[in-house]
Amino acid sequence: MTVTEQRPTQHASSITANRLTRVQTGAVLAGAVVVGALSWLPSGSPNWARWIIVGLVSYCIGIYVVSRIVEGRRQGLDRLMRAVVTSAFAVVAMPLVSLLWTVVERGTNRFDVAFFTDTMRGVTGAEGGIYHAIVGTMIVTGLATIMSVPFGLFTAIYLAEYGHGTKLAKAIQSMVDVMTGIPSIVAGLFAYAMFEMIFGPGTRSGIAGAVALTVLMTPVVVRSSEEMLRLVPNELREAAYALGVPKWKTIVKVVLPTAIAGIITGVVLSIARVIGETAPLLVTAGLAQGVNWNPFDGRMTTLPVFTYYQYVQPGVPPSNGQDRAWAAALVLIIIVMVLFTVARILSSVLKPKGLR
């Protein structure tokens, strides 16, 4: 792939005679930017989306036509596809940049201290906060983590260390795949159905939400942990056995410490995945206005559910609830980003020496 970039550079040869120079391609790009600008100039105010899209399209057309005339059909197609692939990236980046920008811009309207220390109990105006939702998210996600990490890790140990190659292991593996594909709302319905059978209809509780999240989180933990356990070199296990260490001690003292960086990274990433889940918590944990510390009794608000309800039922005037919704969305995104960064740092800090 580097070959195309290192074309022979003998000057004045026939190879370079009909090649576009950087200045020429730059000119086409500049032309495209101008055409893009022309698309909004008549209306007076800059329209970024239109500018970028029209600019990209005219660059793709322009570079193809110019290159086809100067360099021939094959080079023209090559330049066109390079432009198209790069444009695809630019087009995808647009909504994402817009999303992050919007969340930061609108989220900062209510990103104050009171927002983190107040609840929604008795709030009718612009005040109120997410203290109860943060407590709820911590409890529900914490419980889900406590349940799914041992569950997932031991399953991974079984798959990688004990049942390798057996029929049962294969069945478990394919069922883990099925579990990965369960829609989050279905996991929520399952938890609701289970707790309804035990505690009667209409039950909402934090623990039901945690069970729903466990169903979503466990397969992710199994997949990532199993992969990490398999990366542990077999020589390490054999060395331990040769020293007379029993198998379970080998796993606990040799295999797990070697794989721990990857396992923890996987767990943190799976937490990041489920912490923003809304639908399963909407049907299981519900919504409450105040703090509920007891996951076994009563409704419990979580951040994503709070965000949803503040936006769809914002009150009067709507800007109060919507500001709270955007601020809560900002908090959610910050949490996810922090978890991602933590996972990244942990994986490099905990990586054992000698294993790359």
Binding site: L77, F151, E161, V186, L189, Y241, P246, Y311
Partner: protein, 318 residues
Amino acid sequence: MTITDTPPGGDTVVAPTETTSKLGDRIFGGISLGAGILILVTLAAVALFLFVEAWPTFGADPGEFNESFVSYVAPLLFGTIWAASLALLMALPLAVGVALFISHYAPKRIAVTLGYFIDLLAAIPSVVFGLWGIAVLAPILSRSVYPWLEDNLGFLPFFAGPASTSGRTMMTAAVVLAVMILPIITAISREVFLQTPRLHEEASLALGATKWEMIQQAVLPYGRSGVISGAMLGLGRALGETMAVAIILSPANIITVNVISNQNPNTIAANIALKFPESAGLSVNRLIATGLVLFFVTFVVNALARRIANSGFSGADG
């Protein structure tokens, strides 16, 4: 427990020396096995509990609801598949383009950062996408795109209109879904594109192919099954996506392919999220029954995806 993946003998030397370690092995192995079996039990429980809770709907007195379960779920099922297919249609070409950009066009250093960025996007909560869709995207589309589509392409049934002024349409929902499933398809496609044998690429270039010809000859055939299974996984995700659709779509109980009007078929997941908090009695059972249908559909899609993925990344057959 026996050791299957180590040479025979290692265990027999170790085991008799200590009886406590034998016990430890048995407990540890037992816990691991138990966890594995619990996976099977959990999945069986999901299906069982949903089925038991859904059952009263089917046995219900027909007069309980105005319509049968089939006519209740049909528009929802159509909406679910319609929205997900539209999203896939938009996301797939872009995702393949972005994956190619990261794997073969972008400078290496930037490519690593972009890969991380794409992974991060996959974790942005769906409710945030929903908020963005209704607050930012919907006004833009309803202002500058939908009227144009209605005026110029209105002869197509998809754009028959009347164009929504709120932007709460199937099209808006599908665009947001597309943005949401892009990272998944991109991540998987990039992975298989990067695995293309270096020799295939160099052989192609050595024969004088341009970069795009090389990609056509070596990278795309090799990555095809990976891209397809990535697309199926993305489709599975789009089918089950709840909150973004629930926030954006203005639902009606109809089946239509018109994507720019205010009258849209709802999706199963979004319908559950919207109705569940206010439902009681048999309505709850009926919603759970629709959930069971959704479970079944995603199960089939995911099974297909795995089948394609397991058929191997063979590019040799062209």
